[in-house]
Symmetry: C2
Subunit: 146 residues, 2 copies
């Protein structure tokens, strides 16, 4: 059963840059000039925690997460991938996936920590939506086939 | 093959409060008075990313993560669970699991964001190591059996 709440910003989202989706979740690219590889995996039904999903749904969500991680590593060659499911502000299950670089605005802090004002531009390579979407589609297909 | 690096603080860790472990990973309780339910899942071999693990290892790690999440929800009844795999400072795979409350020191920010100085004490209930360890053991057993 899919639950949608009219007042939830993730249930009611519009104008997202969706790179991939299926019946249960979508992967969007976040418009953050400091982190051009920043993607978000959003579970479509309104649940708060991973452990609110059934075991099969958890596994599906995890495979999508791993597919996006693989695609981000391939496209962005980061120093590190950061994964986080927080949801304190919007308790609707979503994962942040952020390619990180030693020269980015918050390294080695999480992007929610203190910024380094001396960093002006992201060191991430330019990757257009089409190329990233293909990489994500292929990597997710491999995860789901495995 | 298990890799250990002598200079890595997670490979060489001592004096950890280990609540559960198997051949591949350990679950420790972090000594943080602001977040008494804060646990960390540490993969024992020195790898940086989830996608550096084999698919079977990824799935095992994920099931342990979900087991700890279930146990933390049961013991701490938080408003939200925060999960994060960052590793910018120590690129050795580990997951942060943090029970969060509306009245905690950083809510609704991640714990790496700005603290609220007016918050003096954690609102988390008192849960001793023995009780938490039993809850984690039982929840992980259920995950691994599923």
């Amino acid at each position: 059963m899919t639950i949608h709440l009219p007042d939830c910003p993730l249930c009611a989202a519009q104008d997202e840059n969706i790179l991939w989706q299926d019946a249960s979740c979508r992967v969007i690219r976040v418009a953050d000039p400091d982190y051009p590889g920043y993607c978000r995996l959003i579970w479509k039904s309104h649940v708060a925690e991973m452990s609110d999903l059934t075991p099969a749904e958890q596994l599906h969500c995890f495979k999508i997460l791993m597919g996006v991680e693989v695609a981000l590593r391939e496209c962005f060659q980061p120093a590190k991938i950061n994964l986080a499911s927080l949801g304190n502000m919007v308790p609707h299950l979503h994962w942040h996936l952020i390619p990180r670089y030693r020269e980015d605005r918050h390294f080695p802090q999480p992007i929610w920590g203190s910024a380094r004002p001396e960093i002006q531009a992201s060191p991430a390579p330019a990757v257009d939506d089409a190329r990233l979407a293909v990489a994500i589609r292929n990597a997710i297909a491999e995860q789901l086939a495995g």
